[in-house]
Amino acid sequence: MTRYVLGRLGSVVLILLAVCLFTYLIFFKLSPDPAVMICGKTCTPDRINSIRDVLGLNQPILTQFWEFLRGIFAGRQYGSVHCPAPCLGYSFQTNESVWSMITARLPVSITVAVGAAVLWLLAGVIGGLVSAVKQGTWWDRTAMALALGGVSIPNYVLALLLQYVLVVKLQVLPFPSAVPFADNPVLWFESYLMPWVVLAVGYACLYARLTRSNVIDTLSENYFRTARAKGLSGSLIMRRHALRPALTPITTIFGMDFAGLLGGALITETVFGLNGIGKMAADSIAKNDQPVIMAVTLLAAFFVVIGNVVVDLLYTALDPRVRVVSS
């Protein structure tokens, strides 16, 4: 087991390294010269050259990449400025340290992701479960029709709609802003409620349909019939012989969806003006702020890759058939 985990971690490092290199090559090679951008309108060739020097752009690309990597672990020097580890460089736009930009915005994205995840898991799994048990009834058909519709509503449409109705018309909610929990818990909750709901709706609909079909499949499994033939109580049959098998695969999907969201909910954050990683990514792309683009890409890749490993490990714990048999 330990060897398996170590092997997985080794491959994680390799994958992240590959993502790093790839992203680096794309952004630093294919996009316009950063030195020209930084230099601005009143620019002389001399100045461009000195900026290139400071950023290390005159060196071969692999040397630059190596410097970039080293900066993450050991810090690096930009001319006279020391960038302490973990160094992801400085924003071309604001000159802020990219690392401190990330640490400032990550809590917002995590709050958005966790809140939405709780909502969509509750709504999706419970809704799907009830639908499965009441298969073919009025409730089931209504819920599934809604779920089908819900998946197809674009996030921003829902966001604008909610905002218009709840904030502008009815004025029951404040305009979302990243209020820290400690400052004002009620305002915090009210601020995040809409982003959570908007983000959760699509996932909840998907999870409801998924849960429903998984549970229905399980109900027709032979082992479910065996459980009934054994005379077990209704709750034991449901819990052990329907829910566990039906929900285990959903864990995997959830892990991946959640990990993806930690890298920022681009649309939701942007629409609600929440200063999370997603909005930072959108802004940096709009302004071609390469160090920031690089960092958010890496961060998203990091979460996805780590999420993958966690899900795999979780799955081996949850499904005995894929468990590594130690003899």
């Binding site: 082992y223 065996t226 009934r228 033939a229 054994k230 005379g231 077990l232 052990r240 098998p245």
Partner: protein, 266 residues
């Protein structure tokens, strides 16, 4: 001495888009204490529906009429709650495909002991001990260790042994085995048959053995019921049915006896 299990005029009906369909029609048979009744018939003849009807496990929508009595107690029309006390306890079942009939997420020990605990109560530890003994009785080597293994860690034959161990752990008075050997290869089939016969003679459990293979029945059953498209075609002692079949269909089945799998009688 009265018979253990009496089925009288059992009919199972499914509503379909083309009106109700009777998949079991006016079936009557009895099973004596420590007797084995063989039910034979080709695929779709209603054998499984008969077995499921007995335990109230038919698919949704199915309707039953007639009478099913165990030790004089009527089972048809019992509440779900009352039936639960019968299932696995007084009447238990072994199904065709042991791999899919066992839940892959739980150890075989848990699957046996959850059933024992449901019907007999007692501690988890005691139930596990019962599971170990049950595994030992069906010839699983090293049962103390194997009890913590999952279904996929057993061979096909062993899995069916596990199913049998489970079915017998509450000492039922009737065991219904629905094609318990069909999914197994020939040598393993013989071993499982032998095991069932041996366990039955030591425990005195009545048995209904369902198969589409008359050859299998001849070695194990005292009485035989032949079914075709839901109809009882022939019913009598094994000797009668084998030596002097009254019905054309039975003769045809007997002719098929070293059976050729891909030859389906028209």
């Amino acid at each position: 001495m009265s018979d253990l299990f009496i089925v009288d005029d059992l009919t199972v009906t499914f509503p379909t888009s083309r009106g109700p369909v009777e998949v079991v029609k006016n079936l009557s048979f009895t099973v004596g204490r420590d007797d084995t009744l063989g039910i034979v018939g080709e695929s779709g003849s209603g054998k499984s529906m008969t077995a499921l009807a007995v335990l109230g496990l038919l698919p949704r929508g199915a309707q039953t009429s007639g009478s099913v009595r165990l030790d004089g107690t009527e089972l048809l029309g019992k509440s779900e709650r009352d039936l639960r006390a019968v299932r696995g306890n007084a009447i238990s079942m072994v199904f065709q495909d042991p791999l899919s009939s066992l839940n892959p997420y739980y150890t075989v020990g848990l699957q046996i002991s959850e059933m024992y605990q449901t019907h007999q109560g007692g501690s988890r530890r005691a139930a596990k001990q019962v599971a170990i003994e049950a595994l030992e009785r069906v010839g699983i080597p090293d049962p103390e260790r194997r009890v913590d293994h999952y279904p996929h860690q057993f061979s096909g034959g062993q899995r069916q042994r596990v199913m049998i161990a489970m079915a017998l752990c509450c000492s039922p008075s009737l065991l219904i085995a629905d094609e318990p050997t069909t999914a197994l290869d020939v040598t393993v089939q013989a071993q499982i048959l032998e095991l069932l016969a041996e366990l039955q003679s030591t425990t005195g459990t009545g048995m209904i053995f369902i198969t589409h293979d008359l050859a299998v029945i001849s070695s194990i059953a005292q009485r035989v019921l032949v079914m075709r498209e839901g109809d009882p075609v022939e019913y009598g002692t094994a000797e009668q049915v084998f030596s002097d079949p009254q019905h054309e269909y039975t003769r045809m089945l007997l002719d098929a006896v070293p059976r050729i799998d891909d030859e389906v009688p028209a």
